[in-house]
Structures are given as C-alpha cells and as structure tokens.
Symmetry: C2
Subunit: 197 residues, 2 copies
C-alpha cells in the first residue's frame, strides 16, 4: 500500500523494543512530516551513537573516550566500587546525586534459564580490578529479583576471600510510599531487614 | 550522564509522536545493541523516505513516482473518487479490499479552531479534477467527527453544482459489535440512517 522505502522503514522501526506495526507506521509518518534538519539529525545520530559509543575499558559503562568520565574523575572515591547490571543503573544512581564512588557494570545478571553464566558477564574484569588493590568496599547494586540476588551471592562468595568489605544496597519500602500500597515481597524484606534507631 | 551523542539521540527520538524520554532512552539502547547492518539500514531508510516519498500529483497520497500506483492503474475505475483526509485512510480502505475506484487525499480536515481553512486542504485540486469531467460519483470518506462532517458538508455544497453524484460512506454499528457496546452517537446515527430491507 505504501511506497517500498516507507514499508521498509516501518519494518525497521518495528524492530525497536515495544514497537508494533501501528506505532512504527506513526513514526514513519513523523519522518515524512518532520523538517529536513530533524530527519537528517536523527539519521546521523543513529549512526554516530552506534559508531562512537563504546564501553569504558575499566567499568564498562557507556563512554565515547576509552575511559568514562566517572573513572577518569580524580575527585571520585576510587576505593568504593558499586557493581550494577546495566549502564542505565549508573544513571539512576547518579541522579540520586550523593554517591561519590565509582562503578562496575556487569552487563547482565546470572540467569541459568537464559544460559547466562559468569563468563558472559564482566565478572573476571571486576575480580582483576579488585586484585590490583586499593578497593576498600564493594557495593552490590544488582537488581532485587532472582537473577540479581543470585549474581550478588555469586560475587559475595568470590570477593570475600580478598578481604574486601562487601555490602548490598538496602531493599525496603520506597520513600514516600504508604505501606498499604507496597507489595508483599518488599514488605517482608523490609521487616526482616529492619534497623535499630 | 550519557555520552553526548547518546543524549542528543534520545532527544531526537523523543520528538517522535507519543515518545517520552524513557521510551527514547530504550530506543537509543536498542541502537547500541542492534547489529551494524540493522542500524545502518534504519539510518539510511529514514533519510530515503524523507527524500524519495512525495505526494501523488493527482490524488496526494504517498508515492515515490510522481503518479501513485492507484492513479496510474488503468484497471481502477477513474469515474469514482473517494475523498479522504489522510494517506493512511487509503491503506485502511485498500485493506478492506473491494473498492475499485480512485482517491483524493485532502491532507486534513476543516477546523476553524485550529485555523485550518479550505485553502489549507487539497480542495481546489479536487475541484479541478472534477471539472475536467469523467467523474460520475464522489464518495465523501472524511472522518465522522465534527471536522470531518464539516468538511463533507463543505465539499457537498461545492460539488453539487457540478451535477456529480455525491455520497457519504455509511456510519453505523461496526460489523461484529454487540449493540450494548456501541457508543450513543454511533447508535443514534445508525437508527436515523436505518435502511429498508
């Protein structure tokens, strides 16, 4: 029904996560209706991001230079490493604003069901960073689901022998939530991990 | 937080309809994770669609050649023109599969509130097509909302003097719907426009 390049663009958009053929069609019509500058910018940036964005050689967060802006910042506390699953997790923690240490991105979590083992994650690289010395504390910031918990447990077992302090970020009732709206699993964990005041 | 080109790509994606910054971020991560071929294809097609897709010179539907595949098809009935608001409407009618005539896209509907007058639509071009002769019937396929109805009325007033038969697509209960789920406006119109059987 549509010109061939339009059909192919709809197909290409439909490969993006959560985009069905109707939404892809809307995006294609946006391209048709947008200004030439906007379209050219979008087209160029897609290529540029793919070509110029790499993983930081130390922490595996996203970076254009080989070393990311956090790893290369001497003002950050390099003796404190927070281990996360995804570069997006760093953005969330940085937005919170008070963490002063550095990071290590695993690029996933252990998941036997999906065939993700320790070798598929940046665990060997983490251990190498730790063995170099200078790190006083590792904060396990993996998700609080089965995979994240399993990954945290695996890391704990391997980091403990290095005599480095290992902590896990706190799980509990989100700030601002009324107890009645908090799910069972969170509430039960919040009760178990209650703290003396 | 993200490399600069990544931030700009998120901003570019966020200009697409219905895309907020979170969704735009997901799309940017899709670009990062997709294969080089996929990314290059997407980037090229965006430019290609913008550059190569134009409006058909006769009916203003989307087309790569100057005349669209429907207008240039001698097997279609050129004495029957269905007037619609948007190129997407043509796709919907073509999918239904039994319309054999040709089309005319207005590229909008009259809307005094949004400042869309007759001169902003392809009405003059429609009248010129009709004045050339050979057209026996015009089907008004504009939407059944206020703007679509106003546009249909405006066209009716201007086409009638040309002694061409003017019809409006039927509005009523959608096929397959139980009456109890049909909205008031549709049901009242369906009752008024009941047909003898």
């Amino acid at each position: 029904m549509y010109p061939e390049s339009m059909v192919r663009l709809v197909e290409a958009f439909a490969k993006m996560p959560g985009v069905g053929s109707r939404t892809a069609e809307r995006y294609a019509f946006y391209v048709l209706g947008a200004s030439h500058e906007e379209v050219e910018t979008l087209s160029k940036l897609i290529l540029k991001v793919k070509e110029s964005t790499h993983y930081c050689k130390d922490c595996f967060s996203l970076s254009e230079p080989p070393l990311c802006h956090i790893c290369s910042d001497p003002a950050r506390d390099h003796s404190l490493i927070c281990v996360v699953q995804d570069p997006r997790d760093i953005v969330a923690i940085e937005k919170a604003g008070d963490y002063q240490g550095i990071y290590h991105v695993l690029l996933g979590a252990l998941s036997p069901l999906e065939g993700v083992g320790p070798k598929d994650l940046k665990i060997k690289e983490l251990m190498e960073r730790l063995k170099k010395g200078g790190v006083k504390e590792v904060i396990l910031g993996t998700s609080s689901d089965t995979e994240g918990d399993a990954t945290a447990l695996y890391l704990l077992k391997h980091i403990k022998p290095l005599k480095i302090k290992v902590t896990r970020i706190a799980h509990g009732v989100p700030v601002g939530s009324a107890l009645e709206f908090v799910d069972k699993a969170t509430l039960s964990r919040a009760m178990r991990q209650r703290q003396e005041v």
